[in-house]
Symmetry: C2
Subunit: 416 residues, 2 copies
């Protein structure tokens, strides 16, 4: 079973101007098909760095996927460097040329530039993979027993080529291993406390099953993996172990599927055929954004009032001016009034209301940065919770959203 | 001037379950101080992979920064592997032990577990870097002329150690090179058309200055870099070249600082002492989220109505029911009515209103997925624009937000 190494090329990755989401996406898709990514290497748009990486990764893996540096501009040097590495010569590819012309005429509706026509030139020693989403063709090189595939760095183009060309090719050429992952999500318990809780389980796991802890703020994902070829015994062992793990973590378990918190909430609402609204002060629309990122969210999500000012809280959510004056905008009383306002204004079955201080400024001794009040409920019942987060602005926003959604999730399950 | 390689350790990075934001952040901070990251390598929580990466990266760089795999659980094997690589022995570190006890007693307010106490054990051949934000200590090893620094993978902890310990250490030990970056942001022109436009400028650039194109959906950043040691001539060349570049791209120029679009809008609003509200249908609160991620956003942002349903558009934004019936929710007429609704309800000087079809479902022949109407304006004047995006749901949401903010930016500059 061949291992895969991913080389991503681009100065922007090395100065941190761009976050590399490509290789995570690629790894996910490859993993689903049973391919194993063992290394990811990011290097500069620099000839010698590319040549070195190619020869090094060839020693580590039999499949080397390369992204980036295929643009039409002069800082994109991946193609000539690949041409040199494989001792080829640059040559115009007719099919690629047709594609460039087609895209400019029919899709971009702009005149094609000489610089773009040049993108149809490829090394004569490669097989061209047609890029239907952009002008830079994919290229496939074979050398000894290794396969090198070069893809553009623009995510949408890379994704199109991966799904239409690369994965089908790899599946045909190699027999992918049977990899089974099972992941569950816990909230409300730290990594070490969780480890303490399941240490007997962990030490009793069969050698073929690996346990991983994937902590992120406020959550820990637990993942069981087995890499063995498919057979019934291993599948049974996995199922058994995963059921055990679910029981051991039941108190903190959010989902035993590899879902995000907002997807779990969406699932419950859809199942119950109920709708949700949010009244967001400190999260500034982030909870609504998480929910509306889910395809089909209009089935369960009615909308949000992002009441950043006190005036908006009063006018749009009917919070009493006296409540804000007496208790402050960040208070249990305020979120308890924001909630029915959201239910009513957005004609929803359930609502979430949040108000807090995300920082870096605005904290006081009594209500330091990170103080958050959350209310969740329906027209019959409201529950509230106070939180203290200790992070920076963006992380506090994320944590507030996560915990508000989790509070609603519990409410939905308990008050159905 | 020593080069830096960053090794990130964790299976979750190789199966794409987690996107590596750590190394981008590290690269950014290091770059500011003049340090040059030349490679980033992600590998599995696996002893042999770690040992191989350590010895390989030692050949590439004089400074090797390592993150991840320092948690308290058994899948975290970075520490024992480093101990083996540097021929050390594990030993309890008193100061690290005090820190673990302190964090559990005073911050987490939970009883400390044996598993956490073990985190205070470190190889006897390292210097401990105290982690004030978590229980896993940082570790610094020196070998021949190379420096290896191991940091936890939790972003908040890694960031604390980088700023308090790692960067000051590196600055003291090495003389950092003078790196000057100058970046500008363009919107509305593709990478190749831009390249065509500035090709004479590019070929006339002095050899010491490098130009990079950093395209992302709808935007292209242009970055000039010079790596030479500080002297007056180079600084002047850079300033001159950057002014030239600004002139050449003036038509598309959003900012000549390395800012995000929402930060540029925030700057203008703050300068004009004006406030903004958003009425968001298809972006579901994402524009509000972008704006409220900026510290101090309450100075210029009043709030948002996320009117996901037609009912919400009518009730909260006073859109006429007949308008939606006649023209549809995704129409120029609808966004033109949403806008004054937002201005009024949120007592704001300016507003943005958006309505569109983000996909994957909901498209029709007449209004395919990616159709978006945007309105921006104030109580005197409203301008609208129709867009067609061709990407997936999340990318369409991002592009809508970007273009809506850009339309507002132009409106603010032209109608002040």
């Amino acid at each position: 079973m061949p291992d895969i190494s991913i080389i991503t090329i681009g100065d922007e990755l090395l100065i941190g101007q761009v976050i590399d989401t490509n290789s995570a996406w690629m790894a996910q898709e490859l993993n689903k098909e049973g391919f194993n990514v063992i290394r990811r290497v990011a290097i500069a748009d620099e000839k010698q760095s590319i040549l070195t990486a190619l020869s090094e990764e060839e020693k580590h893996a039999a499949i080397i996927l390369i992204t980036g540096g295929l643009g039409p501009t002069s800082d994109d040097i991946t193609k000539p460097t690949l041409c040199q590495y494989f001792n080829g010569r640059m040559k115009l590819n007719e099919e690629a040329l047709e594609n460039v012309k087609y895209l400019f005429e029919k899709v971009f509706k702009k005149p094609v530039t000489p610089i773009n026509l040049k993108q149809a030139e490829v090394p004569d020693c490669c097989r061209v993979l047609q890029n239907k989403r952009g002008t830079a063709p994919g290229m496939l090189f074979e050398k000894n027993n290794a396969v090198f595939i070069s893809l553009p760095g623009v995510p949408y183009e890379m994704q199109g080529l991966m799904l239409a060309e690369v994965i089908p090719f790899l599946k045909e050429k190699f027999t992918a291993a049977q990899i089974i992952h099972k992941t569950l999500l816990t909230v409300g318990i730290g990594e070490s406390a969780l480890a303490e809780k399941i240490k007997d389980f962990e030490s009793a796991l069969p050698e073929s099953i690996k346990l991983a802890y994937l902590p992120s703020y406020g959550m820990v994902r637990l993942r069981l993996t087995t890499k063995a070829e498919f057979h019934e015994k291993i599948r049974q062992d996995m199922d058994f172990a995963f059921e055990e793990l679910k029981k051991l973590t039941a108190e903190y378990l959010v989902t035993s599927n590899d879902l995000q918190m907002q997807e779990v909430v969406a699932e419950i609402l859809t199942l119950q055929n109920k709708t949700l609204a949010t009244a967001e002060s400190c999260t500034g629309g982030y909870i609504a954004h998480l929910l509306t990122s889910i395809p089909g969210s209009s089935k369960f999500f009615n909308g949000s009032v992002v009441s950043y000012t006190n005036q908006a809280k009063e006018k749009l959510l009917q919070v009493q001016s006296s409540t804000i004056q007496q208790f402050g905008a960040v208070s249990e009383n305020t979120v308890k009034e924001m909630l029915p306002g959201a239910l009513k204004q957005l004609d929803s079955n359930y609502a979430i209301a949040v108000s807090g201080i995300m920082g870096p400024d605005g904290g006081t001794d009594e209500k330091p940065v990170g103080t958050v009040w959350v209310a969740v409920g329906n027209s019959q019942k409201i529950i509230t919770q106070k939180f203290h987060f200790r992070f920076n602005r963006l992380q506090n926003i994320h944590l507030t959203a996560l915990n508000a959604l989790n509070l609603l999730r519990k409410f939905l399950l308990e008050n159905n």
